[in-house]
Symmetry: T
Subunit: 147 residues, 12 copies
């Protein structure tokens, strides 16, 4: 079972970026968290990060045939990227949207997810641990599909 | 560690209610899922269900001092209950909002969560397994707080 | 053929409540009207009234298996109760929404029915006689389904 | 007692027009239904149909002095015709708005009735039988006025 | 100097139609008022009335080459007829929009004039005398153009 | 018969102010036009101008008992001054709102008149001649009231 | 003179609930404040609290014939409960809406009161002392009515 | 293969009507363009024009059984005619909506097409040549359906 | 303890102004009511009235250092004056907003208070007696601050 | 005559992407269709595809001086890319916007084209054949410009 | 070169007014800053301040012929004063709008400038130094115009 | 002191792009202006330009630690790029947003800046000279911080 983890704009700034919202752990720690959880689930995970909307759409496209599912944090693009939504719908892979902060407890514009409609489900507000939950959710979903 | 799981209106109709959206597993199975996951995490979980907004607010109020955290599926009330939001803010307990269906991939009015602003985070779209993830998310959050 | 007639908040105040809008006949008279019409159609009708949104949802839930159809006046809840809408969709029984006043000829917020989307049809503006029409409409609908 | 039944645009296409929404019975059958119900109530009914908003307003105007009441299905014009609303208010005759489909369970723009504010009441969602109910509702209303 | 006076839907019901808003003088009196004022200004005026949006557009089209200006009361169509707006822009004749009631002191939807953007100016709220003012305004405008 | 003519902000800049919209005739010419028309109607007219919203409200207040009616061009305040609306309602004098340009054929925000709801009627789009029409409209209205 | 004081959802959490907004005095203290003020005015006051919208509507209904007036803090329901608004209109008793915090200085959705339209007046922002003012306002209103 | 070309309000004013937007070629030239293109495609085309919304709906209705497809320029009605939308859906014929000007590069209200949802596709902005493209598009579509 | 009472536009018209809304007691009586209540509380009160938004802002500014608190009825400016809001925030004095009528039971635009966000609290709907309550509320607030 | 054909995000997924909406023909077939049509018109066409908004803007910029016109399918970016709109306006080349599906018959957000305001015209709903029509439309437009 | 610097409501409260937003430097210091910068540019500057919208419009009017340009901080009026916008358009002088705080990083209603559309440009967020930049910007603009 | 100047999409088209809005000076001239002004201030400035939203976010990210401040013209992205806003907040460097045209005097959608909330201040409307002002503003801000 192979999972692609896609991180959107400014996720690479973790630890530096508004730490009162996103926490003080850096992007390296996040990556380590993801790989550890994948290992503990006995699956393989690759991680990509991009600030560019269209590159993220490209990563999604390339996941088709290469990965069994996607964990995606579209970050700022969550709120307006129809291009990413369309890419998710195009590949039609199981996908979990994850957010580090609770997007429903911030500015109004962050409560709206354009991209989640192209995903299986959404997890938000649990900090970097949200990625653990997302991997686990995806793992469970894929296991059920197999079965 | 004691968790209160609160289910809102029509969750008791699971299995009967729009099965193409909510699945064919009944409410008993959901309860069993919750208790199993709690057991596997070594924590205790009580489950309540109510169709009445104010009773749900009451359950939240009574959780204070009696439980370490809340898993809540406010169901229809998610989208308009300021009373439940205020109850969550009043007790100020760690709380995870969970939805069986992906609320961002349905009617517009379901994409808006009024209550999530009173919670730690939100998990939606993973069917009954969302409750497993919610318990695990809450467990992780509480463990971190302890540590 | 058994019908459940559900009246929402403040319908029990009929005759007292804003008589220039709702008329001067009391709630007893309304109940009598319903029972007479049911009798004349050769069907049985039970009537419940509640001010509580969640109790109304509960009445709808309990109608499943016990009644062939529902006549419902959700009153104030018409305009915002997703919980009642969801209950109507959950039981999926033939249901007729009835309003004593013409909801399209009053304040803007009364012209919007959230709950009617869970019903077979809607009748509004004919005073207590609307219940006669609703029973008759439901009777006709059920007869056709049988046939 | 004389009733004018006015059908708006595309009602003449009944049976052909989106049968999954409007049913497979044709316009002739609808007219027969209306005349039968009128006969059974011992009243006289004339039926007109027009695709033209202003002609419908004209039919309403001419009803004054010639008919005791109006049954009207403004169809598409329901949602935007202030001209028909004004005509209904101008003649000030008892009038029942009827819709074949449940206008509150379709596209958002169909849930809004501009014309119902000029009517006594509204009946929607019962297919061609809605006309029976409308005649009966109007009959009851006129009888009460007489009395 | 020849003026075409165009009256929209339900203006022919004057005297009968909501007299508390539109007054008790009938349509004949209105026509007489128009002709008297035209005579007193030494100009010729023709009056047409139609309930049909497209016929009103047609009258405007035919005015080109036959009349020097238009006085128009689009009545209900004022608030939504882009067809009449386009006709007014197409012929590009001096035109005065007139309303019997004060459209800014009634329901919100009546305060909006779609058609006035195709006219030279607007006069509303002066009852049938508004037509006198409109003729005079148009007369003055045309005189100035000549000059 | 005594009329108070009230001009709002920037009307004193006539001739200088955006002449492609407001024309090239200056404020002196406007005043002369007003006085000439008043004289020709055999009535007396006083003219005041103010840039200050509250002063305009004050002029309206002082008109009570001193004048038989008001001609008012609230200019920019037309679109938001509830204070002027309230003053007009407070004195309850016959009042005609006048605009030099056609407010329905410019920016969206100019099409809305907050103040016209406190007036008898509105005249817009006829340049300085609008004041002539306004005086005449007011004169006619007062004559009819007397009669 | 008998007054019913009705407290809505989460008012019973006073002292615990967001003390930076609602203060540190508990619900017992609030009740004592109410009873003291009533005593000092020489009137009798009963206090009820409910988290349930429909129960609050029920308390209002039962006040008819039993109390001379109502002091109500609908709390969260202030912002959306048409059911409570309708109950207040149904009993048509003098009623004062009171809020502990200043609802106009918080989130946008708290600035809107649906229920105040069914009350004589509204008092907000004075903490528990608002209840003293409300009793006094109601007392004054009733005295004037008597006189 | 027979095509009905339906032109809406004011299209008959081509050449006269706002030539900076619609060009200087007249309606005769437009008709000739249509017939030439039809001939070159080896198909037959009839052209009708009407200013009346309901007549346009009627033309669409009558096309059923008589024509293989429709080219329609609903002109002003594009933006609000649910009646024409419903007629297009009722006959369910291949239909191409065409606009002479680019409706997305003008006033906001022109960018919205209510009627296009009843058509196969839309072509706008190419002047009278848009009709050539529309015929060709329809021809291609019908050929593919046949094949 | 010195209080400044600031009355906004048209308050000076009390008794004359829409008496069905504002009552028949004049502005003199209002002033007397204020001074009596102040005397009974043993505090000093000065009263100013202005129709001019900026003058009201000026009165607020000058209150700083000269008065202990403000009672303000911004009247029409309540609904749009950011200038008055900013002045209230600038001086940061305890302030009570008062309205004679119940602003939540009138036109929609009156239910919105822009200025209340700069005040301690709001009292509306109690007629001139609202000023008594406002003084008392302010007195209580200042006493508590002292204590 | 040289044309640049620019395809936006996910167009490269044709055949895989939601085939019930976009058809089962792949991107290669689309490219072939374009080149064939260009050849049949005797013009040269280059095709580029990018998922990246800014790259699409870059392609448009580079077209200036190198191509005579543009055919562009901005796909998802159609609905929000002011950057692409500005690029189209900057180069000011004849441009045709093309969409495979009928954007007016899908979700509301797809009916809005931000980018079409920078184009000559728009063609939508004809599948891959829309590109043929677009090339032909552009060819005709350029020929006319030359002529 | 003569510049008029116009300060709107509450700017005179600088240093006292919400210092966490507007800083602790007083209005005297601001004036000194302006005069120093003017001196350093070798131009003359006069400064006026008013809380009154109409007086600000008056200052703008009087600048015509007396000054070469305007620096204006309309403060609260920025967000709604069409009167000031109209005055700026009337005099048509080069004008720079300046704000002490960053109006795009505060409440939503402060991000909207009604008045900037009447100015050459806008500078916001640089504290009192914004006036230096504004003078310099205006100076540069006027120099270029001369040149 | 090192400053990074970031130019967004289509700024590289200066001189060619809508010269009536953006002027006739090219991008080279703009760069020269920036470097000259930097030199005159005795600071160093690097200039980058990108059409790609995510690349702009990347430039902002890389500025951290390498530059003392940022001057940014996000061009089209100003109005919708939450990704750029988030990048600016993430690095938390002093930043000045600059626009060549006056964004408050154009289309509605250009008056809204999403990105300015991540900046110290905003300068718009002064053509290429706006960059001079921006550098100077940033220089002043940094000097003050140092001091």
């Amino acid at each position: 079972m192979k999972i692609l983890v896609i991180n959107g704009p400014n996720i690479n700034m973790l630890g530096i970026r508004e730490p009162e919202i996103y926490g003080s752990k850096g992007y390296d720690a996040l990556q380590k968290t993801v790989l550890e959880e994948a290992a503990s689930l006995g699956i393989s995970a690759d991680i990509v990060q991009s600030n560019i909307e269209g590159e993220i759409a490209g990563h999604i496209q390339k996941a088709l045939g290469a990965y069994d599912g996607i964990v995606i944090n579209p970050a700022a693009y969550t709120h307006y990227s129809i291009a990413i939504l369309d890419a998710l719908k195009a590949v039609n892979l199981p996908a979990v949207e994850v957010h580090i902060s609770n997007i429903h407890a911030r500015e109004d514009f962050r409560a709206k997810s354009v991209t989640a409609a192209g995903c299986t489900g959404l997890i938000s507000g649990f900090g970097p641990d949200g990625y653990r939950l997302a991997l686990r959710a995806l793992y469970g979903f894929l296991k059920k599909q197999e079965g």
